[in-house]
């Protein structure tokens, strides 16, 4: 009989009690289903037992907080109930962050903008939405509106920079950038081609100025050290603006003196100081008095000839720009013949008058916008204003942009002839590089925080630290185990 197999014959071979015993496959499934969850719970219990709370953390804390990253309770303050959220008081124990604006309608919780547990990010790098929650539809508690009320981000409805919106430079100094960048300028030692950084350098550049007073008066005067102006210097910035962020403020002795020499008399080598008219007047009188005392013969010389300049060296400030550099004598444009002085005092008076006439009407007027008549015949200078910051509510760091040529951003400078010209670049130029999304769109970051600080750090108050190593790190530093028994230590503890 051949072997015949049917489902029925096969079924008959089955042990009908097979399910009473667990097959290894089912056994493994059962034990793994029990063992793995138990293992997982054991892991949690084990880390709990050693006080390693970090296991519950949704992610590493920022670099600044990493030092107490294991001390959850420092930030997560228990509210007496089950919950232990991060409250502002926990942040303010270390950060006396001033409010944003007196007129803001509400103050968001610290942790809503500075989101922790996202790794080694800068907490100051807040999301645009944090700013946009107010600025997208800005309201103030007094109903007034000073800023654009519908800004959602740098790419979204951000207005043109206020400096450009105003339409003119608030500076009161005459400056013709176009002229200063011509190749035919005469410098202290001949023709020069000026460059931007001959006059404009970030504050952290410590190199001699090429056209400072030291070039023409190395012994008598020196350039001055210039720090940031009040507008440039703030107590602290959320925005990282380094020491090279801003340009050194323009000072006559640093950037102008070598070419714009304030020589007031051909007989006196020392130029007048770049100072108030009263001080200039006193200086001239003093120098001429000293001169006539040392050279009484000058009283007998031709007063007109004595006023002629030998146009050499640094005393070339009267030469019109762009003219030939051939030496020549320049005679003051006197309309009337000068009478011969009868005394030294008269001689000093006459020459002082001539010198001041030259200074007030020509030298000063080259740069200073206007002078008005003041007391004792001396002019009163209009206050010199050269803006040192163009973005009063934002930060800009020149150092971060050092790879760019000056002209690439300040493109209007070579053609700018008027002080009133605004030569800061417009927002569209910034948007060519800075975009929201930053590296994700292969661009420089364009977040609000790149330029704007939320907290007004000018109002920051000094604070006293309250933490110690035990609270901060959970450790007792060597030698302090018995510190509580010391009177001083116990006093400190109180």
């Amino acid at each position: 009989m051949p072997r015949i197999r049917t489902a029925k014959s096969v079924a008959k071979r089955i042990d009908l009690q097979y399910f009473a015993r667990l097959h290894p496959f089912r056994r493994w499934k059962l034990w793994l289903s029990i063992g793995l969850p138990v293992l997982a719970l054991g892991w949690i219990l084990a880390v709990n037992a050693v006080g390693h709370q970090k296991v519950y953390s949704p992610g590493p804390v920022s670099e600044a907080h990493a030092v107490f990253g294991d001390r959850c309770g420092l930030c997560h303050l228990s509210t007496g109930s089950f919950r232990a959220p991060v409250v502002d008081a926990a942040c303010q124990a270390c950060h006396q962050a001033p409010a944003h604006n007196q007129r803001q309608t509400f103050t968001p919780a610290c942790s809503s903008c500075h989101v922790e547990h996202r790794g080694t990010i800068r907490l100051a790098a807040t999301a645009d939405n944090a700013c946009a929650q107010c600025h997208a539809d800005l309201k103030s508690n007094d109903g007034t509106q000073r800023f654009d009320g519908h800004v959602s981000g740098f790419d979204r409805h951000h207005p043109e920079f206020s400096a450009l919106r105003s339409g003119h430079d608030p500076g009161t100094m005459n400056l013709n950038h176009y002229v200063h960048l011509q190749p035919t300028l005469r410098g202290p030692a001949g023709a020069v081609q000026m460059k931007c950084d001959d006059c404009h350098r970030p504050l952290n550049v410590d190199e001699p100025w090429p056209y400072s007073v030291a070039v023409v008066q190395p012994a008598s005067q020196q350039p001055v050290a210039v720090g940031p102006t009040g507008a440039q210097q703030r107590k602290r910035r959320s925005v990282e603006a380094g020491p090279g962020a801003y340009m050194t403020p323009i000072k006559y002795v640093n950037q102008c003196a070598a070419c714009h020499v304030l020589q007031f008399d051909p007989l006196i080598a020392a130029p007048a100081p770049h100072s108030k008219p009263e001080q200039v007047h006193a200086f001239i009188v003093q120098k001429l008095t000293e001169y006539v005392a040392a050279n009484p013969a000058v009283l007998n010389s031709d007063p007109v000839a004595a006023l002629a300049y030998n146009d050499e060296g640094p005393r070339n400030f009267l030469r019109p720009l762009g003219e030939s550099t051939e030496p020549r004598n320049i005679v003051r444009p006197l309309q009337n013949a000068l009478p011969r002085a009868q005394s030294a005092t008269e001689w000093v008076q006459v020459r002082t008058a001539q010198a001041e006439k030259l200074l007030w009407s020509k030298n000063c007027h080259v740069c200073h916008q206007a002078t008005e008549g003041g007391g004792e015949g001396l002019p009163t200078s209009v206050q010199a204003i050269i803006p040192s910051r163009w973005f009063p509510h934002a930060e800009f760091d020149h150092e971060q942009h050092r790879m760019m040529s000056c002209i690439s951003c300040h493109s209007r400078i070579p053609q700018s002839r008027l002080t009133a010209d605004i030569n800061v670049p417009g927002i569209e130029l910034c948007r060519d590089c800075h975009k929201q999304g930053g590296r994700t769109v292969s661009a420089a970051p364009g977040g609000c925080f790149e330029c704007h600080s939320y907290h007004d750090w000018r109002n920051e108050k000094r604070m006293e630290g309250t933490l110690d190593l035990t609270k901060l790190r959970g450790i007792h530093p060597a030698g302090t185990e018995n510190a509580s028994s010391l009177p001083a230590a116990s006093g400190t503890a109180k």
Binding site: P2, R3, R5, A7, V10, R13, I14, D15, Y18, F19, H23, F25, R26, W28, K29, L32, S33, G35, L36, P37, L39, A40, L41, I44, V47, K54, V55, Y56, S57, P58, G59, P60, C72, H76, F82, R83, A84, P85, V86, P108, S111, S112, C113, H114, V115, H117, R118, G119, T126, A127, N129, A130, Q133
Partner: protein, 306 residues
């Protein structure tokens, strides 16, 4: 479980729910101040719903343990397990803001969840295709747990067939037919093995069969893993063909029985392999699912606290 037309309502529901939650996430992402996070209101909603789906999916095991409970048909639970379990994955991704988690617990949770979802998807694919394949390729399918018992029964059967075969080859006349008896009688006697010589067989052939049984057939029927020549149908056919050359034609039915045994054993082996594919993923899917549910509960408690 077959993924057929009966799944259409679940599919429509899942796709709709995914679309709604996806749109909700896009809006939430654009409006949230510090970016989406699991601790925000929307993050918690996504997490809670996702976890609820996970728990529902986990309850399938309980439902299967108590089939008499009147809480819906098991097939409905199975479909819910499949679709809601799958839907829980994007919901949890929305909850986690598409982060794999940077903390030890959250990262572990995400890794476990991915393993559970991938193994589940793999299992669904296997369960869709393999049962049909098994029906086609395993003729005499048996209960998986009984394969070893059946295998031993096959061995016993083979031992008996080989014993009979050897006896016949060694002259036991009870194995010969009438025609052979006539042939054997006319052939005369030779060394007392009249019948056997009439069959054209001798001790050497019996030894060959015995050796074949000991070295090839028995190990093949006993083995659960590894490769034997008889595990390959072509090789087995060749080996049995060679035996047929040695063995008289009238004993070939015995060889055919042995060959049939080998076929059945190969079928059982095939069934075992398919069963491992069909159910092996459960060894990963189920234990890790329970671990995931336990750890997710702890995560939820501490996330709500902090």
């Amino acid at each position: 479980m077959l993924i057929d037309r009966s799944h259409r309502p679940w599919l429509i529901f899942s796709v709709s729910a995914l679309a709604v939650s996806g749109i909700g996430y896009a809006v939430y992402d654009s409006l949230s101040v510090g970016g989406p996070s699991g601790g925000s209101l929307f993050g918690l909603i996504y997490g809670s719903v996702g976890y609820a789906f996970m728990v529902f999916a986990g309850l399938l095991g309980l439902r299967k343990k108590f089939p008499i409970w009147r809480v819906g048909r098991t097939t409905t639970w199975m479909r819910g397990h499949l679709w809601l379990g799958l839907l829980s994955f994007p919901l949890i991704l929305f909850h986690a803001a598409f982060s794999l988690g940077a903390g030890a617990l959250t990262r572990t949770l995400m890794v476990l969840f991915i393993v559970v979802v991938v193994s589940g998807l793999l299992g669904a694919v296997f369960q869709h295709f393999i049962p049909r394949l098994m029906t086609e390729r395993v003729q005499l399918e048996t209960i998986y747990e009984q394969i070893d018992a059946v295998r031993l029964q096959l061995l016993e059967e083979a031992e008996k067939i080989v014993a009979d075969l050897c006896s016949a080859l060694e002259g036991d006349i009870s194995f010969i037919g009438e025609e052979q008896r006539t042939v054997a009688a006319s052939a005369g006697t030779r060394g007392g093995l009249t019948v056997a010589s009439g069959l054209g067989a001798d001790d050497r052939t019996s030894d060959i069969v015995g050796e074949f049984f000991q070295t090839e057939l028995r190990p093949f029927l006993l083995q659960t893993r590894g490769r034997c020549p008889l595990a390959d149908k072509d090789q087995a056919s060749g080996m049995f063909g060679q035996l047929r050359v040695e063995i008289p034609r009238n004993l070939w039915p015995k060889l055919a029985d042995l060959e049939s045994l080998c076929d059945e054993k190969r079928g059982l082996d095939r069934q075992r392999r398919m069963h491992h594919l069909l159910h092996g993923w459960l060894l990963v899917h189920i234990p890790i699912s329970y671990a995931l549910l336990a750890l997710a509960a702890i995560h939820a408690i501490f996330a709500l606290r902090y």
